[in-house]
Amino acid sequence: MSGLGTALVFWPGAVIMLATAVYVFRTSSMARAGLLLLASLGVEGLLFLALASEFLGVLQLLMMSGEMVVMTFFMVMFMPDPGGLMGMDMIHDKRRSASLAVAVTVALAVFAVLTDWPAETLNGEAPDVRQIGFEVMGRSMFSFLFAGITILFAMVGGTMLAKHGGRFAVEAEGDAR
């Protein structure tokens, strides 16, 4: 993608991504908040595509669409006011959290703009997806295997935590709970 093409996708995408991210915490409907987060992270996938990372962009869209739909279900289940009809205020310590977030944002943005980063232009085509495959199956294979095992542990741990009575529960014989 040319520089102009990247800019044409990046700027509107960045505005939509940040606006939807802000509205995640401003809407009072939980279903809407989950879908706004899905929109924000989905548009981030489009930014990845614009920044010549096709594989990661498509992966981001697939991962986030699945994860955020699950998250929306959980939000509707566990929020005291999932429809946002009672006008509950779900923010505490509003001023301090907002000022700390703004301070961190400004510090990071100033650091990003003022630092002399190394610059190297992309030579023509986007990086070959095969390179990522060789990286994952070669030098980084041990780390990738470790990530896979960690996912397995998290799945087992999450299921044990969610089990009725927690991980210490002793089920009676024939207890079907």
């Binding site: 520089g3 102009l4 800019a7 960045a14 940040l18 991210a21 995640v24 915490f25 908040a33 989950g34 987060l37 924000s40 992270l41 981030e44 930014l47 990845f48 920044l51 990372s53 594989f55 990661l56 994860e67 699950v70 998250m71 939000m75 929020m79 005291p80 779900m90 923010i91 505490h92 310590d93 509003k94 959290s97 907002a98 700390l100 977030a101 703004v102 944002t105 990071l108 943005a109 990003a112 703009v113 980063w117 610059a119 190297e120 990086p127 390179q131 990522i132 990286e135 994952v136 980084s140 780390s143 990530a147 960690t150 996912i151 998290a154 999450g158 044990m160 935590l161 969610a162 927690g166």
Partner: protein, 102 residues
């Protein structure tokens, strides 16, 4: 046009929004959403570095894959914890969860 500082600045704003959610929200699931946004910002940083600073290094994509894994793990363990807490306390509001025992 787009450059590395621009991408990093956009990611910084996204990180700040996520941080506001983590610090300010009262519900556990909303806090998890803030963490997701912060991790999303870190992924945008990594893709920016990969595009504008080290375009030939495939290891940047590997780091993004690891962060995506981390997002999935955070959601899985977080939901497990929320279910467990909700079973015991009948709430997922953080203001009501101030004690570990009892």
């Amino acid at each position: 046009m787009i450059s590395l500082p621009v991408v990093l600045a956009v990611a910084a704003v996204m990180f700040g929004i996520g941080l506001y959610g983590v610090l300010g929200q009262t519900n556990t699931i909303m806090v998890m959403m803030g963490v997701e946004l912060m991790l999303g910002a870190s992924m945008l940083n990594l893709v920016g570095f990969m595009r504008y600073a080290w375009p030939d290094a495939a290891s940047g994509a590997f780091f993004v894959l690891i962060v995506m894994t981390l997002m999935a793990l955070e959601a899985a363990v977080g939901f497990g914890l929320v279910i467990s807490v909700f079973r015991n306390r009948r709430t997922a509001e953080l203001d009501d969860l101030t004690e570990l025992g009892g």
